[in-house]
Symmetry: C2
Subunit: 241 residues, 2 copies
């Protein structure tokens, strides 16, 4: 049993950076240290898979990695069985999760990451599905997945693209914090990490570290939300509460 290795990005696009550029150092280090030559890209969160693959290829090939799209294989489960690394991109979380269920990919990806130690990189929706469930996605429920339970590679929830209330706004809809606290009114809810853009969560075995250029906001049921600065150790979130 190898150790799990995950890199969970709040977003692939960060203001002032090119696509994936903010996380370049972490991605390169993860892939190089695992002798990965080819990354299996999973584009199901967006409609146009070929176009999405081209976007992802650009930086990854420039950095020296081959990229193939899982949609190019007749048998996606077999492709996942042979993958050296997974990258699941952002888009609509409901569409992504439904497709993973429809194609029977949940179990194989989970096993390969948790048992075989295959590196997993997720961004936005790809970060949501790596967690225990998609209960804290920001996306519209455009399709109905058979469950909100997800890959469960980590036992807590993440809210990607976490944003604070704009104090100048006249908009009266719920803030992100209010939405997360509504979730945590439920007895089955656990911790939620609000990953602001420019945040990257690194999971290496049982060690969880916040990386990137921004603080995150951590919500533990029954406690006051708190700010988490980059380089903080969050390994305690892997303990089931």
């Amino acid at each position: 049993m190898s150790r799990r290795q995950l890199l969970l990005l709040s977003s692939s696009r960060v203001y002032g950076y090119k696509y994936l550029e903010l996380a370049a150092e972490f991605i390169q280090q993860l892939l190089a240290s695992n002798d990965v030559r080819q990354v299996l890209f999973i584009p199901y969160a967006l409609k146009d898979h070929d176009k999405y693959l081209e976007i992802v290829k650009e930086p990854l090939e420039r950095w020296g990695w081959e990229v193939v799209g899982i949609h190019q294989f007749k048998d996606p489960v077999a492709a996942a069985e042979k993958a050296e690394a997974f990258f699941i991109g952002g888009g609509n979380t409901f569409r992504l999760l439904k497709t993973l269920y429809d194609l029977n990919l949940i179990e194989v990806i989970r096993r390969r990451v948790l048992e075989d130690g295959i590196p997993y990189i997720g961004s936005s929706a790809g970060t949501n599905v790596a967690t225990r469930s998609i209960h804290t996605t920001n996306d519209m429920p455009i399709v109905y997945p058979p469950s909100f339970e997800a890959l469960n590679l980590i036992p807590f929830n993440i809210n990607p693209h976490y944003v604070d209330k704009d104090p100048t706004s006249k908009h009266m809809g719920e803030t992100r914090e209010e939405r997360i606290l509504q979730y945590q009114e439920l007895p089955e809810a656990g911790p939620v990490l609000g990953l602001r853009e420019a945040c990257v969560l690194c999971i290496d075995g049982d060690k969880v570290t916040l990386k990137g250029k921004n603080a995150s906001r951590l919500f533990i049921p029954g406690k006051t939300p708190k700010e988490i600065t980059p380089n903080s150790d969050l390994s305690y979130l892997l303990q089931k509460t």
Copy 2:
């Protein structure tokens, strides 16, 4: 068979107005013209039903209407069978819809509004569940309802609290328009009305009119989104496309 009468608010709270105040004229007119004495309030979108009832009672009782909460009845279906008017308030759309399913309220509310002509007032989540489905809610999927299909009192979708992209923002998450257009990539998607805050949609039989103090944005699959000004006739949205 009486004619359906719906008042669908983008939000109960509008910047610069008290709770429900922006829609006061429309609510009073609807209830008075139907000789309503008592409104059945449905608070399931929020956790604290008693507290929510008090908030709603304040303006409605001041305007001359009695308000009872459906949660105060042992048999909610029987309460819905006897209701003179429904008001479904906002909060979390998933929690609201799941509760309506769990308590077997979908069919009875639908029948009473569409066949008996009982007035229906909805706000935010209460507006979402009045439409064909909750596919275009902004809320977090904090609980898993048995379906995203909703009361289907009108055959199109609404996005309440519709907002435009803030041109000064550095946030890179999808805009509301992008999210709605992603929904409309699906072949089963129909029209979506983006109801900005301070918008009220009035449905009287087969007549649909936009009221309130703000324009809305209409998304028809395959067409360029367009602005709809207050007092526009939108009756054509009742035709199945």
